[in-house]
């Protein structure tokens, strides 16, 4: 399933967006590492759903958003995006900071969203352990920390086998700056999110890698307890990025969960 690229203008920002597939809309929100576009899992899910994968403001080739202060700004932005792109009531899937964004969106306007998929999301203060300080570590260190075992990542060489070009390196720096802008303090969480999550009755699938070294897997149980209608699936031998580490399993989980939505 091939994706096409669109630019959608919202709040004065040109948002680069990958769109592809057929079926009900699924909005996919990427993590702090940036938008990888359509990868192996996305192609599989796009057989059944129309995937919208925008690049967050300040990331990749989307426009600047120096005025944003936190993930709640990004959540409001994407609620506007849903309206502007005429997505109706899409499913929303978010990974890491994208998962946190999706959770914030659901607390603000649960009726704007159909089903919710949260993949190793940050956003909650861990009851046990700490969220790894990603800004303390170099990008090279993080590349290894984010997965359980690079050897088991099917497309590792394709994704990370070559040194980044100057343009790619510049985008990686920009991504990191915008991630810092949005998540620096309180680091990677919103202390008040716990108070609002019980509002979200949307069917929710939480997916976590048991070996996640960025966000403790215990946070998955915290999200499940706070969300009234959520299930948690923990994947063995998987780190912080199940969509890259176990793309086929991940796509199956997403299709099974979303496939139930409207028969």
């Amino acid at each position: 399933m091939q994706a096409t690229e669109l630019t959608i203008r919202i709040a004065g920002i040109d948002v680069h967006t990958w769109v592809g597939g057929r079926g009900d809309p699924l909005l996919v929100l990427h993590g702090a590492g940036g938008n990888r576009g359509f990868t192996r899992w996305t192609h599989q899910v796009a057989e059944r759903f129309t995937v919208w994968a925008p690049t967050h403001p300040g990331f990749g080739t989307s426009g600047d958003a120096d005025w944003m202060e936190g993930i709640d700004d990004l959540a409001r932005f994407y609620l506007w995006f849903i309206d502007a792109a005429k997505l109706g009531q899409p499913h929303v899937l978010g990974q890491s900071i994208g998962g946190w964004t999706a959770a914030e969106m659901a607390t603000m306007s649960p009726g704007s969203i159909d089903r919710l998929v949260l993949v190793d999301p940050v956003g909650l203060k861990p009851e046990m352990g700490e969220i790894l300080d990603v800004f303390y570590h170099s990008p090279a260190e993080l590349r290894d920390l984010m997965v359980c075992d690079p050897k088991t990542v099917p497309d590792w060489d394709e994704l990370f086998g070559q040194a980044p070009s100057p343009a790619e390196a510049q985008i990686a720096t920009r991504n990191r700056e915008m991630a810092a802008r949005l998540t620096w303090k309180p680091y990677m969480h919103n202390p008040r999110l716990t108070q609002f999550l019980p509002r979200v009755a949307n069917p929710t699938l939480i997916v976590w890698g048991r070996e996640d070294r960025i966000v403790p897997v215990e946070c998955g149980a915290q999200y499940r307890r706070l969300l009234p209608n959520a299930t948690l699936t923990v994947l063995d031998r998987c780190g912080h990025v199940p969509p890259l580490e176990q793309p086929d399993t991940f796509a199956r989980l997403v299709l099974d969960f979303l496939g139930d939505a409207r028969g």
Partner: protein, 376 residues
């Protein structure tokens, strides 16, 4: 040319092998190696040395501030300024400086600097700095806001000093409903403002526009000249003349009765060039702290890190000057001719340089070097 005495107040009384076990002496080196009794003795010693520098004839005493590091346990410039305001008589107190981006209350900072100026009889030179990246971590201040907060904090401090209160401040990073400091500086309209630079063209231009004294720290001459050109560009935009009084430079320097003694003492500066600057790049330059222009300039400005240079190379490049009084006076004059500066800041004590060596250096500078340079 005016000379300034500066000590980082190091706390280097621990086994170096212990420090080597950690990724950096900053942030990571555990404070169980901080020895309270030694620190108490050291503060007395370092303050004594500052006071002697005042008596010896230094034009100014430079004070700086760092956190979470044995390289500098002066953790508050305004606190040290308050002490020296009472125990010194003549020298300017050069605060270089207050770290604006990590400050949450610029009004309190304006009050404290004003109080030091009042107690000292108007001797404060108020330096403002953006800080080393390490300080962003220490304060948990978002590095992407570093420059914005630097400028807004500066603007609010200046307004505290120059505009009658009460007034309200609703900025982007600072919000105060009631600003009316009952403590204003003795110097009018406010103490002179100094700005250091290492690599940011933006800072040089910004300082030039305002006519502040601009001081590159430990950079090669050609880089200093390039930064001064940025400064002049900013000054020209604002129609301001640039005189030597606008320009300064910081190096490490020590003198002694004989050249071998001076060279032995000068070796202590190598510690601050290498071990104290060792650490992951993201600790010293966290994401977003430097603009792309600043990053590119820094790469050009420092093709080799100070840590990679030998003692002999550091001497040859004038990062360290060590010699007899005649020799250092000659080298200082050379720096002055190369850069056209009016202020030379001497980092004059470091690492394990002992008290007697430090005091003798201060004495000889005062007796022989400072007078020799007074007419330059």
């Amino acid at each position: 040319m005016k000379l300034y005495y500066f000590s980082e107040m190091p706390h280097h009384e621990y086994p170096d092998a212990e420090g080597d076990k950690y990724p950096s002496l900053r942030l990571a080196f555990p404070n169980r190696f901080f020895d309270r009794a030694t620190a108490a003795t050291n503060y007395t010693r370092y303050l004594d040395e500052y006071e002697f520098a005042d008596q010896a004839g230094y034009h100014g005493l430079m004070i700086n501030e760092h956190h979470s590091t044995p390289s500098c346990v002066n953790v508050g410039v305004n606190m040290t300024a308050a002490v020296l305001a009472r125990t010194t008589r003549r020298a300017k107190l050069l605060l270089l400086g207050n770290i604006l981006p990590i400050e949450d209350n610029p009004v309190r900072m304006a009050e404290q600097i004003a109080m030091a100026d009042l107690i000292s009889g108007g001797r404060v030179l108020s330096g403002f700095v953006r800080g080393v990246g390490v300080e962003q971590w220490w304060a948990n201040a978002n590095p992407v806001h570093n420059r914005e907060r630097f400028e807004e904090c500066h603007d609010l401090i200046l307004k505290c000093w120059t505009e009658p209160g009460p007034f309200r401040w609703e900025g982007r990073h600072y919000h105060f409903r009631h600003v009316n400091p009952w403590c204003l500086p003795l110097q009018q309209p406010h103490p002179p403002i100094w700005i250091p630079g290492t690599a940011s063209p933006e800072t040089a231009i910004w300082a030039g526009r305002r006519g502040y004294t601009y001081v590159p720290f430990l950079v090669p001459f050609d880089v200093a000249r390039e930064l001064f050109e940025f400064y002049r560009r900013g000054a020209a935009e604002a129609g301001r003349p640039v005189t030597p009084d606008n320009l300064g430079f910081l190096i490490c320097a020590v003198t002694a009765d004989t050249k071998p003694k001076a060279l032995e003492a000068g070796r202590h500066f190598v510690w601050r060039m290498g071990p104290t600057l060792r650490g992951p790049v993201d600790w010293f330059q966290p994401v977003g702290m430097r603009s792309r222009a600043g990053t590119e300039f820094a790469l050009r400005a420092r093709p080799r890190s100070l840590a990679a240079m030998s003692y002999d190379e550091l001497l040859a490049e004038h990062f360290i000057i060590a010699g007899t009084p005649d020799e250092v006076a000659d080298r200082f004059a050379h720096v002055q001719r190369e850069l056209g500066i009016g202020h030379l800041l001497l980092e004059a004590q470091e690492s394990r340089m002992d008290h007697l060596t430090t005091m003798r250096s201060i004495e000889l500078m005062g007796a022989k070097v400072i007078p020799a340079l007074a007419t330059l």
